[in-house]
Symmetry: C2
Subunit: 361 residues, 2 copies
């Protein structure tokens, strides 16, 4: 398959800059009209966060909050938000990337005071809510990096690399998913699916066993809980390239939730889209796989049980498969890691388990 | 600078296989002579671990332990060790990589019993001690991945990529340091130094600000405590290419120790070489930098103070610079992160701080 979506990233960047500028103009306009400037946005308080069954993610309800320079208690967060918009505009227009922590310290260069990083993080989330863009769209990236490997050719849009292409099989340890890859255009792929894997060792095993060729797959390493940039990248692979996504994690409540956050996101990100892949499938290790494959296990701890009971009540977990697996975990009282398949030899997971699970899905 | 060290990796692999085979032969020979086979190795008990001031790392002393199949209490660890050697030989000769966790589960495929992963980890460490090679040399790699970026051309030796080269500027998010990169040959570089950086956000900043070009440097992301494979890779850059190494971490006892483990290794690895880079320099963030640059700080916690007192007594920290910085930390009672320089603008760290520190060193 070959195509060009060339303009999408450039257009998005333009749209982000425009929405930042529009935000600034609206403040100027209000002042020109002689009124105290104010900002309105959806409320992110818990009573305004709902699970949306069709979107299959959390969303914000109708409640809105208003920050106005007229109210003395609002002046501080109001000013911080305006600064955050200014700084994000600087980053985006100058094509520099940053992190949440960096934003906190950068504020001091402008004598903008945040009492701690929590406060500056919350303001960045406000800005996401006001604009409807993710912070990665205005070049604020997570520290963590994960990786991808497989036959996908991308074209960079970052300064110094514009127009250069890279095929993601070029480095057999995997290609890091950072700001440059996240903002790359997709050029060409022969893959017909995405397989996301929790653990680094297994990711390497999959590459060594040529899973990308044998199963026509792009392999994504989530490295535990997938960083936001990686979740966004998986979303793009699914939406832009139409590739189905299969997620393999450890067989325990924490592994389930790594998959779920890729699929349906978190309540914290109810104000943004594009971080979820609702059609992605959690393909294992299921509790029922533990039984079926007689895997070596460890007992579930009290914390594991507590977590399972939480997930049982979580609206994202209401589907039959999830409920069945949660119940099975509780019944067997055991958990298993992905590597447990090595009890049948190093390549069993690739030769037997993976094809069986892909067929099942 | 251009050269070929082509044979080094292939020769090492051969030497590793030979030493595994020699180990196996010695057991057979003993049995052929009609004696119970036994294995001797340096003791790794605490009373046999010494700091070696010239090597500037921990080493094992003269005490040796002997495991013999004659002693019923030895039979279990003896058998486990023989299996570990067999399995390592399988991995190395078949060119498959693995992880410590995978080894634990793989044992079950051979009905070799380990009561938990701790036990199998200890046996792998025994094998390192017996052979004098690191587990990475027999293809057992850490889960964690870090990254490198800069003008270094490498040539792969892993199956499917033999002879293919990659320039490490090819992906502007950085090139992952995994088994394939670790086992690659060095072909060519224009760099005259290595700069190792603790944090992902700053690593990206350095790439964006073209530190690799402006300072002729290879940039290494340690991503917190550097994984063993990364420490070994830094060692190779220093030994094989003769490049000096400068390490930049957060300004706190934990950052200091990230640098120290790259420089002098850990007591746990007293039985192996090639994981240390004794001539590498910790270039910052020093406690004295915090004062000099008036950085935004946080107070040291009780745990930070406790850690500083431990480091003060640690033989690796006996040099004047380390002692001075430990004292200064205690005196000011504050710590600062690398990102704190952003208070002077995003590029201050690259434009002002970095050149000043490189000149100083």
């Amino acid at each position: 398959m070959s195509w060009k979506t060339k303009s999408s990233i450039a257009e998005k960047r333009k749209a982000v800059l425009e929405s930042l500028e529009k935000f600034g103009s609206s403040l100027y306009e209000q002042m020109a009209r002689g009124v105290f400037p104010s900002i309105e946005m959806p409320s992110r308080s818990i009573d305004n966060i709902y699970y949306h069954p069709e979107l299959r993610q959390y969303v914000l309800g109708e409640k809105r909050v208003r920050r106005t320079a007229r109210n003395i208690r609002h002046i501080r967060p109001f000013t911080q938000l305006v600064w955050a918009a200014f700084f994000s505009h600087e980053l985006t227009s100058q094509r520099k990337t940053s992190t949440l922590r960096d934003v906190y310290y950068s504020a001091q260069a402008y004598e903008m005071s945040f009492k701690d990083q929590q406060e500056s993080n919350a303001i960045i989330t406000d800005l996401e809510t006001v604009l409807g863009w993710s912070r990665e769209d205005f070049n604020i990236f997570p520290e963590e990096r994960s990786a991808i490997f497989g036959d996908l050719t991308i074209e960079y849009t970052v300064p110094g690399y514009e127009g250069r292409t890279l095929n993601l099989t070029s480095h057999p340890d995997g290609v890091m998913i950072g700001p440059a890859l996240t903002s790359a255009e997709f050029v060409k792929t022969s893959a017909d699916k995405v397989i996301a894997i929790e653990k680094g060792g297994l990711f390497t095993r999959f590459i060594e066993e040529r899973v990308h060729e044998r199963f026509n797959a792009l392999l994504v390493l989530t490295a535990g809980q997938a960083p936001r940039a990686t979740r966004h990248f998986i979303h793009r692979l699914n939406k832009e390239l139409g590739l189905p996504v299969y997620i393999f994690t450890d067989g325990d409540p924490w592994g389930m939730h790594i998959a779920m956050v890729i699929i349906s996101g978190s309540a914290n990100a109810a104000h943004v889209r594009e971080l979820t892949t609702p059609d992605a499938k959690w393909s294992g290790v299921w509790a029922t796989d533990i039984v079926k494959y007689k895997l070596p296990t460890d007992p579930l701890s009290d914390i594991d049980f507590k977590r399972l009971r939480e997930l049982q009540r979580d609206p994202r977990y209401k589907d039959e498969l999830w409920q069945r697996e949660i119940k099975t975990f509780m019944k067997i009282g055991r958990k298993a890691e992905q590597e447990a398949f090595s009890r049948y030899g190093l390549t069993f997971i690739v030769d037997e388990y993976l094809p069986a699970k892909l067929e099942e899905a």
